[in-house]
Symmetry: C2
Subunit: 126 residues, 2 copies
Amino acid sequence: MPAFCPRFHRAIELIGRRWTGVILRALRSGRCRFSEITEAVPGLSDRLLSERLKELEAEGIVERLVHPEFPVRVEYRLTEKGRALDQVMDGIASWAERWIDPEDAVSTADAEAAPVATAVSGANPR
Amino acid sequence: MPAFCPRFHRAIELIGRRWTGVILRALRSGRCRFSEITEAVPGLSDRLLSERLKELEAEGIVERLVHPEFPVRVEYRLTEKGRALDQVMDGIASWAERWIDPEDAVSTADAEAAPVATAVSGANPR
DNA sequence: TATAGTCGCTTACGATTGGTAAGCGGGGCC
DNA sequence: GGCCCCGCTTACCAATCGTAAGCGACTATA
């Protein structure tokens, strides 16, 4: 096995970008509208969701469908390439279930969802 | 399936941080010394490798062994928790092999490995 | 007519993180 | 002494992220 593979590198840097993984998971779980995703993923802002979705669309992992109805409805769907990531996502989920301490995970999610009073006062947090 | 799972989130943001994936792959392929990893991964700097290894050690994914020999030899190894990621890594590798265009990947790696003549010269006023 | 609200973005700006280069400590080697 | 090696650490600047606000097309309410 080679120590470095450009394709592997590109793949993991792509799906590993901030929020990308959770966005793909939300899409897979049936959330397909912009606002459904922001609601489903605590801490994720409009700006980043928009940015990530554009990247994923450019990569051919999701496709964007615009329904020119009432308040413009936009639907995002996994392409075949995107659905091919399901087993990867499942693998990560299994690993997380076995090895990630739920409390760590919760505190992380909280910190992202509600970084209320923490950041301002720190003396020199690193 | 829930749209959001804190443990999944934490897991993917952890292994998805910049360089983390390729570092783990390098470790798995037998490179275990600091300098072996920097050599194996084009574009990865000392600073980031050091930072990522510290994080991975703190997470219990790699362990650090110091051999007080000649020029201090430091060995990094995957723990059980780290080795449990093998199937995830394999899944990503398979996906990449099927879906990532080698040329895209090469150009990406090149850009990272050899920004030789581009960056140095002027004409980059912010 | 005016005001307000919805959805999906986009813009602006400060805070965090990443990349590049240089230095450092402890040893051995000439 | 001066110079190399390894594994970091520090310093500095650019890229990315998080927060908040605004925008365009449209409707609903008054």
